[in-house]
């Protein structure tokens, strides 16, 4: 485990930078994590993806399959990569405060 600090945010993360305690997630944390994943600014579209992942995770305890993410948010895979250049698994899930996905997204 390591500590990640950005502005006023201070959280525990694993070696890949995913949150160790997803329950501590909030919008400031999302903004801080976004800065590590090549996301310039969190637009409405970014939040739409992050919030969807967050809700799905809360409900099912895992990340959704990519195809489902695209369908439900209405973004193509390319658009997801435009929003989160490191991809849905590494980028979007991290910003949404999910623990490291294991093989799904």
């Amino acid at each position: 485990m390591a500590t990640f600090e950005h502005g006023s945010v201070k959280i525990e993360v694993d070696e890949d930078g995913f949150m160790a305690e997803p329950e501590n997630w909030n919008q400031d944390v999302a903004l801080a994590l976004a800065s590590t994943e090549g996301v310039g600014a969190m637009t409405e579209s970014h939040w739409k993806v992050a919030n969807y992942l967050r809700d799905y995770y809360k409900q099912f305890g895992i990340a959704p399959m990519i195809r489902k993410l695209c369908k439900e948010t209405g973004f193509s895979l390319k658009e997801i990569y435009d929003l989160y250049p490191s991809g849905p698994a590494k980028g979007a899930c991290k910003v949404a405060g999910l623990p490291k996905p294991t093989g799904c997204v």
Binding site: D16, G38, L77, K78, G87, P88, K90, K100
Partner: protein, 404 residues
């Protein structure tokens, strides 16, 4: 640095005997690489304790790609700091694995500077495997690789780097241009290769003839194997020449012909091409006398895999004879239909072969719009397998039993 090699009595055992040894290779790299030194120490420790010290599943990568790098961390970072990160980078190999030494040198230069210096040429998918680097080196590595004309390969649930035998570039048996097809598919499926969105991995392997030098029939989701549909070309004089030089045609050729379609009367070799299985055996034994026909193309097969989550599968025939003609639109459209249904209905980590087993070949073919035909059956001459609609209910029941 050489004198700082950790003591490795157990690993040293693996250097004995006449075989090449990965231990010797790592020791060689350890002369100039701290990561390789720590790797030796860590591995010796694993051998002593009988447990692996690599943690499972890291997620690292480069911007824009969802695959190509496999994250790896060791669980003893304090003791082995130089392998605390030991990520693997997959690099898309050129079709047929042709390099100029110059290109190989450049790759090795990058890897000595930014990684452990250890490589694996090549992985079972076909990629160049660069073993062991740190997260903060990934973007520079990617930038330097692309600057010398290389790209990352596939990893995770995506199209894996397509690979092929060297085909027409060197081999007289090649029935189609494997390298051209591989290059084209790689270019066409860049999105699918770099941005994982499938239920699981998907491999293409191209072999120029039924000798199948890249073993595509055993380990590719789509195997494209060269074949011909006219007659084997026979040079009777050359056949005689072989017998004069001591070849026992009856014993070494005819007895092994799976189609039982050859006859030899001491002067003339007759082949009943209508029952020939295109297995290459006779051609391999008498390459100067026999050649594949002139009307060449490929058989497209689907569904093989090595045993990982479920058991091993061999491919089954999807298209008995296909003429590979650039830009191969017919094949790509078919792939689109296959991915559509597999992505929609496939379970997480279910290979296409397993998916077809679960769904039933009949249903699968119907969904992708391919007519069932006798060539799709492994042993059409021995197995009275029938695809008529009215028998489908019975077929389904039988298949259900088979799975147990």
């Amino acid at each position: 640095m050489a004198d700082k090699l950790p003591p490795t009595p157990k690993l040293d055992e693996l250097e004995k005997g006449p075989w090449p040894s990965f231990v010797s290779e790592i020791k060689m790299a350890a002369k100039s690489s701290l990561a390789s030194q720590d790797l030796l120490g860590l591995l010796e420790r694993s051998y002593n304790e009988k447990i692996g010290h690599w943690k499972h599943g890291g997620i690292v990568g480069v911007l824009g790609y969802g695959g190509g790098v496999i994250g790896r961390y060791c669980d003893l970072p304090a003791e082995f700091p130089n392998v605390s990160h030991f990520h693997t980078v997959r690099v898309n190999q050129p079709a047929g694995w042709y390099y100029k030494t110059d290109a190989l040198r450049k790759i090795c230069d990058i890897w000595e500077k930014r990684g452990s210096g250890l490589t694996n040429m090549h992985g079972s998918t076909g990629d160049i495997i660069l073993l062991g680097t740190r997260t903060d080196e990934l973007e520079p590595i990617f930038a330097e690789l692309t600057a010398i004309g290389f790209d990352l390969g596939g990893s995770g649930s995506d199209v894996r780097t397509p690979s092929c035998c060297l085909g027409k570039s060197r081999c007289e048996w090649a029935c189609y241009d494997t390298m051209a097809l591989t290059h084209d598919l790689t270019q066409s499926f860049q999105d699918e290769l770099h941005r994982p969105a499938f239920p699981y991995k998907f491999k293409f392997k191209m072999s120029g003839c039924p000798n199948d030098c890249v073993a595509s029939v055993a380990r590719a989701d789509i195997s494209i194997i060269g074949t011909w549909r006219d007659n084997i070309r026979v040079n009777q004089d050359a056949v005689l020449e072989y017998t004069k030089n001591g070849l026992n045609i009856q014993k070494e050729v005819i007895a092994f012909c799976p189609g039982k379609c050859m006859e030899w009367d001491g002067k003339q070799l007759d082949i009943d091409n209508s029952t020939c299985r295109r297995c290459m055996h006779c051609i391999n034994v008498m390459p100067k006398a026999l050649r594949p026909g002139k009307d060449t193309g490929a058989t497209v097969l689907i569904g093989s895999k090595a045993p990982i989550i479920e058991g091993a599968l061999l491919s089954s025939v999807l298209i008995p004879f296909w003429k590979p003609v650039a830009p191969y639109t017919d094949l790509k459209d078919l792939m689109g239909r296959i991915w559509e249904i597999w992505c929609e209905e496939g379970k997480n980590r279910e290979r296409i072969g397993e998916f077809i087993q679960r769904m039933g070949m009949g249903n699968f073919l119907e969904t992708i719009g391919v007519e069932p035909i006798p060539e799709m059956v492994a042993h059409p001459r021995e197995n009275p397998y029938v695809f008529y609609e009215e028998y489908l209910v019975e077929d389904d029941e039988e298949e259900g039993q088979d799975k147990n």
